[in-house]
Symmetry: C2
């Protein structure tokens, strides 16, 4: 990254392994593959040992299952531990099956409680028992308590290690405590939570604020109000709070209001990416899949959506079937009808996507839903008034020798179908959201099915009435 020549020592490995985009180079991946093929464990270890865990995880994604097995065998145990939380779910499950449970038990002790719990969560039941049994009591208890919270809850996300200080301490007391107890504190922390005698948080002091204040300053004097997270809050909710208020860390409290852990922003970044990934894939009708998914897994995730689409497409075909006699007389209608449904489907998808996104970022709620609906309807009308003349003239000219009124009919059908598209594009996700379903799931299939259905119905219906 440095534009001057880099010193060829410490970051040597990085310069070989990563290109300027921070992606592993094809050359490096090839070297790893060669060493794995040769079974040259020493060479493998020397290639891998200076990599960042995130890069090891990336490397795993570029390898085949056979090569991953060899790499797993030769990874230094502490690097293996730190790599596990970074792996894609599918790959992590595969890797975990190959690691002996004693190695795993040892590796997990190196991790913060939230990361260790995330790994243990992915183990098969019998392996999980063996691994937990091989861990010291205190680490086992931390992991089991974490797994006791609902999946995707703040309790599962938090780390139990936290820096708390009683209200009556001053800056000097706090710094002395940190120097003495450093080992038991989280490896990194960004806020000190000030607690009352019941261990309930009453405020927070940013670490930079602590450093800036004279030793005699009381914590109560410099603490700021904090946003508390409750253990049972959903992770999506937690991410929203972090994002909205620009938090770096936040204290987690139990039902009685007592401090039980903290959540830091680096975990939140992962959640935001995960939620975005889900939204974008769900809108396209793709269930969870990642680069480790096998072809049968991918097909199982995608075929249901396509099958539903097949069903709705057959519905659309039935509508066309109602007008068989009309089409027989005027084949031009068969030629033009996909245009009406295609534009309707696209406009509906636009309205749908904007609505899903606004719901996800909470810009849209019950107080402005009616306004959003009328706005989309106005946009649909405006889109129609722009596009209808274009297609109207084109179709009228194209089929001028049969009946120029075909142009009028397709123009009118286009405007009406764009109003259908706006309506269904907004109301589908709003309704799903109000019913507590994910507005991204199966919205698109419903929207395009509706615009297909009405597109064919309006166009062929108008044509039958006017032309026959």
């Amino acid at each position: 990254m440095n534009t001057t020549a880099p010193p060829p020592e410490a970051d040597d490995i990085e310069h070989i392994a990563l290109d300027e985009d921070y992606v592993l180079t094809a050359g490096f991946v090839e070297k790893v593959v060669d060493a794995a093929d040769d079974g040259d464990g020493m060479r493998l270890r020397s290639l891998l040992e200076d990599l960042h865990p995130a890069d090891v995880a990336d490397l795993m994604g570029f390898l085949t299952a056979e090569h991953r097995a060899v790499v797993t065998l030769w990874l230094p145990p502490d690097l293996l531990a730190e790599t596990l939380p970074e792996l894609d779910d599918n790959i992590r499950e595969e890797v975990l099956e190959r690691v002996p449970h004693l190695t795993l038990a040892e590796a997990l002790q190196e991790l913060d409680s939230d990361d260790a719990a995330a790994v243990v969560e992915d183990l098969e039941d019998d392996q999980r028992e063996k691994v937990l049994a091989a861990m010291p009591e205190v680490d086992r208890a931390a992991i089991e308590s974490s797994l006791g919270y609902a999946e995707d809850s703040a309790g599962r996300l938090m780390q139990r290690e936290v820096m708390a200080a009683p209200q009556f301490w001053n800056v000097g007391d706090t710094i002395d405590h940190i120097r003495k107890q450093g080992e038991d504190l989280p490896e990194l922390f960004f806020d000190i939570y000030v607690v009352d005698p019941m261990n309930k948080p009453v405020g927070g002091v940013a670490v930079s604020q602590l450093l800036r204040s004279p030793r005699a300053t009381s914590l109560a004097e410099i603490m700021e109000p904090i946003n508390e997270i409750t253990v049972d809050q959903d992770q999506e909710e937690v991410a929203y709070i972090f994002e909205k208020y620009h938090l770096i860390s936040a204290p987690v409290i139990d039902a009685a209001g007592r401090l039980v852990g903290q959540i830091t922003v680096d975990d939140i970044v992962n959640i935001i990416q995960e939620e975005n990934r889900e939204d974008i894939l769900r809108l396209a009708g793709v269930a969870d899949e990642d680069r480790g998914s096998s072809i049968p897994e991918i097909v199982r995730g995608r075929v249901p959506w396509l099958a539903i689409n097949l069903g709705t497409a057959v519905l659309g075909a039935m509508v066309i079937g109602w007008f068989e006699a009309t089409i027989q007389q005027i084949v031009a209608l068969a030629i033009l009808m996909p245009i009406v449904s295609a534009i309707g489907g696209n406009a509906g998808t636009q309205a749908l996507t904007v609505t899903v996104r606004a719901l996800a970022t909470r810009e849209l709620n019950s107080s402005n839903a009616p306004r959003t609906f009328w706005r989309e309807l106005a946009v649909g009308l405006a889109n129609g008034l722009v596009l209808a003349p274009l297609i109207g003239f084109a179709a009228g000219f194209w089929f001028r020798h049969e009946d120029w009124r075909i142009g009028l009919i397709i123009g009118a059908a286009m405007v009406l179908n764009l109003l259908v598209a706006a309506t269904v594009g907004v109301l589908t996700p709003l309704t799903l959201s109000r019913l507590k379903f994910d507005p991204a799931v199966s919205s698109a299939v419903f929207v395009t099915a509706t615009t297909d259905f009405f597109g064919f119905l309006i166009f062929l219906g108008l044509a039958t009435v006017v032309l026959l």
Copy 2:
């Protein structure tokens, strides 16, 4: 949030203004609207003054332009300053037009240099000159230097305030310096950058690590390697590095390698959301729009895509036109043909979305592109082999009195079109990405145009050859 009864003092306002989802309540918004309608400035100010700037920005999004004008007038100046960076672009531009330039000049001095620059960026040229002229030299210079960097670059994103310490200092020196110079340091910082005599970063010390170490410890002893960002790096690139390596802050260096600023993770969270928003909207053919956009702005953003789709739909219609004679003889083909194109379009969109997402997260690059392509082709074939019998039997039965071979033909056309969908779904974004275009833009229109074109061509072509 607390499950016990909240103390009805400090957070009183929050309990009234926000529901349990951290969204402003309809009741609160109504109160603000009433006060604005009555021109009751004192009441407005008392409603607003305890809100978090992020909540004021949310409130603005729920109001009409007229009400926003009244609220802007009565916001306390420091709260107005902190609210400006939180506003949607459109709303910010509107608000900025109403704020007198002296008020604005004063407000901007309260902000970190990156936030102030972001606001100044949005001003009209003449207003910008007036505002900058009314600011103290040092603040003006900081903003002008920030605006000197390319939009979306690290230089624009960074704040110039940074906590740096020379290599030869120990922990005690550093803490003493922070206590003495606290005013000139960034309001919040999470890492201390250790620099050499040329002001080049040589390592970083997390603030919690500094606190944990005895005063006599030298910084060189506890510093860790750091990921440097260069001023001209693109913000998407910076976000990728933060996300991959779980960074909280990173030093920014100029072309000569000297420390010139820092970027913190809270800005990165915004960028990640912005990039995700762009990707998801672009895939649906929606240009930049937000809740502040007017209807003409929205239409201008969406119509071009619909018009392009109209063009490709006409291409598809022309393909159907080639087979006018065939359709005239067998109307069943007109009834069934939209099914082949619809499933192709959906499968192509699935492959496209997965590929765009994998490119965005850099899981996909030149080293695994061929494997991805073959995998999608296999998925397409498998999807086809599952769906073809379904539609084949259904269509064969439906049109059994005309010609049962229609079932065979639609099944075969479906399989072939799903192979087309997989091919174009993967290759379109890969090609755009290799040509340095955004793979999300206009991919979808090309993919569905191709599956429509080949869907009609294969189905009607096969039917003409076999049935006539």
